[in-house]
Amino acid sequence: MSISVSMNVNGKAVTQECPANTTLVDLLREKLQLTGTHVGCDTSQCGACTVHMNGRAIKACTILAAQCEGAEITTIEGLGDANNLHPMQEAFRECHGLQCGFCTPGMIMSAVDLVNREPSLDETIIREGLEGNICRCTGYHNIVRAIETAARKMRN
């Protein structure tokens, strides 16, 4: 079944025709060419596909595009760009919060949601907040440092 879905992606209204079984991440990557959102496990475990739906972090591999009708979606491309990085992106660079970088877009999207939701962060809360994001390089230490750094900047 082909359906038409309309949503707002990174501030722009988007309408697309797609099969009903299209996931949000496939719509983003294949139709909109927003390839910053990655597919790691495709089983809602690794978190590489994390985007924001109406401000909340979700796994874009485990939601149909159809379920996003009328929603506001923000991907890593909507957070900042090379000349104007979001404080979280800047902090990941400063703290070297990545190794291969594959998990990084999902880590950053989860981290921004975490900072927005939690009034105060410590290392335990950050590590628990990242339970849905897996880094196969196991570079968690600098990721946690980056989020602590960004949280201070975002609150100022």
Binding site: P19, T23, I58, T62, L64, A66, E69, E131
Partner: protein, 264 residues
């Protein structure tokens, strides 16, 4: 995932009518069990009925000592609701321990309970708190609801719309989480109510169940020591790569003791 027809009704009646008319339909709530099942082709429905367009299914109400949570309420909304936190803090704590942050933002209480996964957290709270399951056609007492692994008394097309929890005197939930998935290897929910103590255990057996021997002991003496001599039968436990049946039986008593300790 095979292709399907997608429907988004705007009322419960419309959803149920679609379900009855269509060849092989499924309801879609948060999709955090259904979509992975579709990807694995464990399910191949002709039609998916998305419940997200029906107003009121995500509401939380507290009236007359009953906390009613709409079936489409996301785990994170239960975890962070000031009403739930104040009326049944053990329920908000349980919700905060499901899966991970992204999963809690999409997965729903009704989806979890209707699915009756043997390792899901919510069934322990629903059974432990003596909740009532409200559907489009009736109210079901929880003691009759769960019938087996992924099995409930819900009939074909019957739609779970809300869960009504009577306020307990006190309640606690303690689980031994699977380190990767956070599903309960064993989870024990204990509630002190005006009708006595209820102990519900998830993760251990094919379906959530009440540990009546523990309830009897705790009704006489609500203390950790009252549970010391109780060991559940390993023959009724699940066994898989995560834990042997004997280990699960052992964990039942350990988690129950920890829950009692929280309430003492």
């Amino acid at each position: 995932m095979y292709d399907f027809n997608y429907h988004k009704p705007s009322s419960i009646d419309e959803a149920v009518a679609l379900f009855i008319d269509l060849e092989d339909a499924v309801y879609l709530a948060g999709g955090h069990t259904l979509l992975p099942s579709l990807k694995l082709r464990l399910a191949a429905p002709t039609d998916v009925i998305d419940l997200a367009g029906i107003p009121g299914l995500g509401d939380i109400d507290y009236a007359g000592d009953d906390l009613t949570i709409g079936a489409l309420t996301a785990h994170d909304d239960v975890a962070t609701s000031p009403v739930v936190q104040s009326v049944i803090p053990a329920l908000s704590a349980l919700a905060a321990g499901i899966g991970d942050a992204q999963v809690r933002n999409r997965g729903t209480i009704g989806g979890s309970v209707a699915n009756s996964d043997p390792a899901a957290d919510y069934p322990a709270a629903v059974l432990g708190l003596d909740a009532t399951l409200v559907t489009n056609q009736r109210s079901i007492a929880v003691d009759e609801f769960f019938t087996g692994m992924f099995e409930t008394v819900l009939e074909e097309g019957e739609l779970l719309t809300a869960i009504r929890f009577p306020k307990p005197e006190a309640a606690a939930y303690v689980k031994y989480p699977n380190p990767a998935s956070r599903y309960a290897t064993v989870g024990v929910f204990i509630a002190r109510t005006t009708k006595g103590v209820r102990v519900a255990i998830t993760g251990a057996a094919p379906s959530v169940f009440r540990a009546t021997e523990m309830e009897a002991a705790l009704n006489v003496d609500f203390s950790e020591n009252a549970l010391a001599g109780i060991s559940l039968d390993a023959d009724m436990m699940n066994e898989d790569l995560h834990a042997s049946a004997e280990y699960r039986a052992h964990l039942c008593t350990v988690m129950a003791r920890r829950a009692v300790a929280q309430l003492s």
